[in-house]
């Protein structure tokens, strides 16, 4: 008797969360689904379009290019930020006055809003007045991110690394700090090299935080919008038009609501799918062995 009453109360407690989630996520998502299967010429007149927008989009070269650019960008970001983050975390002091100094320094870029980061780099990298741009130009480099696609890419990537590597560093540092001293002492006694210590102690113990770091960085970089929009506006040409920028161009610039809705759904599914793949693969690295080993309690 008592048991059941308690349970029902619990359901009522969950109800507000259901409502909030419904308003904040489910209903907007349904609106998007609604748009994605219709066409409009304005004046709130809609026609049934079925799967046409999806078909068009999946065959459009513009989408393919943006998608490929996005993958390349996320891939480069992960390939640089994760190892760099680990290296910096390993190099950080474990005790003494250096710890708070390093932690605060690391946290600083994370505190700056996205559009401000964009603005900072936009000015910083300008060839005429920016410190970086001007210095590079006067050193004889042919650097101009508003004209050269490669320079634009480098700028956007360096900016993201500057902004977000700290996150990876802080997560890895937390993971490293949780390793008991005895492990390092035992490794010294076993004559393990610096690399072995990393490979067999630090990396396995950081496994969980790395999973979180990679997921966060992947999702974030895959959805990147503000910074490149502020710095390059997707240009020169379409060279830094990532999926999100393309989406905005389509929806707001051209007011093609149907294709834009279809694109955001595909975009959403892609992120969901890739995140799931990352998660499963990375968690299996550690779990695979537990199925073979005995069960503990």
């Amino acid at each position: 008797m008592i048991e059941k009453q308690v349970n029902q109360k619990a359901w009522f407690m969950v109800l507000p969360v259901f409502l909030i989630v419904a308003f904040s996520a489910v209903i907007p998502l349904m609106t998007v689904v609604n748009y994605s299967v219709q066409d409009t010429f304005g004046n709130n007149v809609f026609f049934w379009a079925g799967m046409d927008w999806f078909k068009d989009l999946l065959h459009s070269e513009r989408f393919h290019d943006a998608f490929f650019r996005q993958l390349l960008f996320s891939g480069i970001i992960l390939a640089i930020e994760i190892p760099l983050g680990i290296i910096i975390a390993l190099a950080m002091p474990k005790k003494g006055w250096g710890v708070p100094v390093c932690l605060v320094t690391m946290a600083l870029p994370l505190l700056i809003p996205w559009n401000v980061v964009g603005t900072i780099w936009q000015i910083f990298a300008r060839v005429d007045i920016g410190l970086l741009g001007h210095t590079l130009a006067s050193l004889g480099f042919d650097y101009n991110y508003t004209q050269d696609p490669l320079a634009a890419w480098v700028t956007v990537i360096v900016m993201d690394i500057w902004h977000w590597t700290s996150l990876v560093v802080l997560l890895c540092y937390a993971g490293l700090c949780s390793i008991p001293d005895a492990y390092y002492q035992a490794a010294k006694i076993d004559g393990a090299s610096r690399f072995s210590v990393f490979r067999y102690i630090q990396l396995p113990k950081m496994h969980r935080v790395l999973l979180i770091a990679i997921l966060l960085r992947f999702m974030d970089s895959f959805m990147i919008y503000t910074e490149p929009f502020v710095v390059t506006g997707g240009g020169p040409g379409n060279s830094t038009t990532f999926l999100s920028i393309d989406l905005v161009k389509l929806a707001i610039g051209q007011f093609d609501l149907g294709p834009a809705a279809a694109m955001s759904l595909i975009y959403f599914l892609v992120i969901l799918l890739l995140s799931w793949v990352f998660y499963t693969v990375m968690s299996n690295v550690g779990v695979e062995s537990s199925a073979k080993g005995g069960s503990g309690r």
């Binding site: 035992a186 006694i189 076993d190 004559g191 067999y200 396995p204 062995s289 537990s290 080993g293 503990g296």
Partner: protein, 362 residues
């Protein structure tokens, strides 16, 4: 393989200092002979782990030198000292199998696979790990993990010493017995010097040929388990070793006559030349006091309580203001609240200002 000498070692965690209170480890000299089994016994905070870390090289002492035979190794890194250490919580490499864990110290030293494999298999057999050899070490029980840690020490045939830092803390009582006797056998087979740090007297006494008792950063006694039990040099050793510890009771001594709460007992030793102390005490172990019914021989006492703790009983009796613990064998049944106690005079020790006074045998 070497003798390990500690020459005027002292350590302070806050660096060199003139204040003796800063020193976690007060100045001490000690030699660990090659191939022996030692235990470092003391309560937490007595400096035993500090001493162990100085030997293994994880800590550089503030003063003094560590010598392996004649070679000064004070500043030598741990990996160059050829030492193995087993910690309180088992340290294993999670991602490796048991085999890889055991092979790890040899692989790091560049041995060939051909050389490593038979050694690992042989050692796993000795440790009883052969069934799990190709399992991931992560999923084994605590005692198996501790065996792996031990195995990584034993696999290197040339180690100078194996150091244990309370290795049985996380092991269940039944397995403790098995693991301890296995350790002892392995010591006999391999002949490595072993140094075992613990606060548990049973572990220390059963494991070691010689026990070093530490208290507040100082060594209070070094001796065989028997010496520590029979002739504690200091009242602390008497209290710390034995369960319950030694009864330490104020008394007066003249020659071989002991005055105890108005009773006179003739001792087997003569203490005529004894200097004057501010306090003189009798030390006698609960095992060496006999409790008899009131019509028996001895000093009359009130029985405060008798606890049956299974294999034997512990009686608490009072002789006027002095309280004694007495161990009563399981067969003896005592009823009533009065009795007589008598001392086994061969096992009576006399302490002046907490230090053992050796009288002259009569």
């Amino acid at each position: 393989m070497a003798n390990i000498t500690l020459d005027k070692i002292a350590h302070s965690y806050s660096g060199p200092s003139d204040n003796p209170d800063d020193f976690a480890l007060k100045q001490l000299n000690l030699t660990w002979k090659n191939g022996n089994c030692y235990a470092l016994l003391g309560p937490s905070g007595c400096g035993k782990t500090t001493l162990l870390n100085i030997i293994s090289g994880l800590l550089i002492p503030t003063e003094g030198d560590v010598l392996f035979d004649d070679k000064v190794v004070t500043r030598l890194a741990t990996e160059q000292r050829n030492i193995a250490q087993i910690f309180q919580f088992p340290v294993i490499y999670d991602t490796m199998t048991v085999f890889q864990n055991l092979a790890f110290p040899l692989r790091n030293r560049g041995r060939s696979r051909k050389e490593i494999e038979p050694r690992v298999i042989e050692l796993a057999g000795m440790l009883g790990l052969e069934k799990d050899l190709y399992k991931k070490a992560q999923h084994l029980t605590a005692d198996a993990k501790q065996k792996i840690s031990l195995g990584r020490g034993l696999i290197r045939q040339s180690v100078n010493a194996i150091l244990f830092d309370e290795p049985l803390t996380v092991i269940d009582p039944h397995l403790k017995w098995a693991l301890r006797s296995q350790l002892k056998r392995l010591h006999k087979q391999f002949g490595f010097t072993m140094i075992y740090v613990t606060h548990d007297q049973t572990e220390a006494l059963t494991f070691a040929d010689e026990v070093v008792v530490m208290y507040e950063g100082k060594i209070v006694q070094v001796g065989t388990p028997e010496e520590l039990f029979e002739r504690p040099q200091h009242t602390f050793v008497g209290y710390f070793i034995g369960s319950p510890g030694m009864n330490i009771i104020p008394c007066e001594i003249q020659g071989n006559r002991m005055q105890l709460q108005g009773n006179v007992i003739n001792l087997r030793r003569n203490y005529d030349g004894m200097p004057t102390f501010s306090k003189v005490e009798l030390g006698i172990r609960p095992e060496y006091i006999r409790l008899d019914p009131p019509d028996g021989e001895g000093l009359p006492v009130n029985i405060l309580k008798i606890d049956d703790i299974g294999p034997y009983k512990i009686a608490r009796v009072s002789l006027k203001d002095s309280i004694f613990n007495v161990i009563v064998p399981e067969e003896v049944t005592m009823t009533g609240d009065r009795g007589k106690i008598s001392f086994d005079l061969d096992h009576v020790n006399i302490y002046g200002d907490d230090t053992l006074v050796t009288g002259e045998m009569l």
